[in-house]
Symmetry: C2
Subunit: 286 residues, 2 copies
Amino acid sequence: MKTLNQIQILHTIDDIRRFVKQHRADGRSIGLVPTMGSLHEGHLALARQAKQQCDIAVMSIFVNPLQFGPAEDFDRYPRNLENDAKLAETAQVDAIFAPSVREMYPNQQFTYVDVELLTENLCGASRPGHFRGVTTVVSKLFHIVLPDKAFFGQKDAQQLRVIQQMTEDLNMPVEIVPCPIVREPDGLAMSSRNVFLSPEERKQALSLFRSLQEAEMLYRSGERSAQAILNHVAAIIKQQPLADIDYIKIVDAKTLSDVQTIEQKALLALAVRFGQTRLIDNTFLD
Amino acid sequence: MKTLNQIQILHTIDDIRRFVKQHRADGRSIGLVPTMGSLHEGHLALARQAKQQCDIAVMSIFVNPLQFGPAEDFDRYPRNLENDAKLAETAQVDAIFAPSVREMYPNQQFTYVDVELLTENLCGASRPGHFRGVTTVVSKLFHIVLPDKAFFGQKDAQQLRVIQQMTEDLNMPVEIVPCPIVREPDGLAMSSRNVFLSPEERKQALSLFRSLQEAEMLYRSGERSAQAILNHVAAIIKQQPLADIDYIKIVDAKTLSDVQTIEQKALLALAVRFGQTRLIDNTFLD
């Protein structure tokens, strides 16, 4: 049926609830891909995964003010719904839920979902309040869309881990499906913020992926000292004059707390600024 | 059908989910009455209301450790599941969900639902962490049972207000139905903790309801000064030698912040200790 394949763009909570309810009544499963728009191949891979595992793929596009700090890039975060809709349609997305800030936060917000400990290290340390904003809006989206499964990229490794924990702790009836990082042909992790990079910054940003690959090699060759690996990674990135390191850390993949010696699955995660643009990337050491 | 009327007692999340799913598949609506057991007429009134408004009434019975402070009465809180089941059956409850602490909190809990501001005054001031425990467990129960409606007593006025706000802020797909306070024939508000009162404490505890009635009369006669009404209420209660006032407050019914002059719907709420037993009661001034 052609009508099922035509993408719907819904702006209100009532409309998306009606859309989902109808498909549920017809026995279809729902997959949700929460995004902030400015779609790239990483998002589209999530959408294709949703469409593969569920009957109906809903993508939310909402630049959530609650997860941006006062000095962060909420205002300049790229927005382009028209183009996003075209891209989402190529990935067989059935509906886009694109609410306004007013639709999502009509009144003063009193209620927050807080995940403790897991949000203290890595990006949580650099971006106070960021994860509270993420978990709160994702809770809202889950309650609005009521998906069977929700799809999150491994690039935001801490976000994924935090959302998995939230879902488990609060018994949310949704399965979190992690999806691998999607990279440009030259290795740069896809990000909506990559458009801000100057050609020179873009070139120097390749050091992130290169440093992660070297870390993996060190690990595979038997190195288990976190500090030794971190020193190596930092040295590579510091060779780039435009790179301003926010953090480079090796943490336990489950607790996200720093490890000295890698004895079980660990996450090597980093955040580096190039000019005004903050990039993150990571890999598992396992 | 007899089988529909026989109460089921379910101890695991899987079992209650299966129970609810079956009824949903058959097109029935679900009402949830969250309790800590030791049922009295107040709880049963909630259950009857649930049964009146929904096809299926589920009552949860769970003494939630997360909402008790370290110096509070978690250990001595009365528990009597067998008797509770008999009482619930008389109110046509279809299923009791009575999980163990281990079932609800199998691992370290990282995630909490926090409602700010509304939880700072009244019982929130006397019981730090209490409402975080309430909102977190109620979120869990909502996600487990997925009720259409949930029923809460007006006796815990702040709890009701906090849960209404949480539901609204997080777009939870459940309607919160407030139910009036149920009182003993002599006016004492029903509470599971009333069993702890000695005959003399029980007698002196009547001053709570009496003072609320006098406050209502003052208000109806035109008094709008919160302090004047509070002084009168306090004077009545202080006549009882065993009464130890925790708080007596007049607050805005919506924001729960103190008011000086009553200009819109206000809540007169009090908490008073008799021996080791802390009682609460309230009335609206409207």
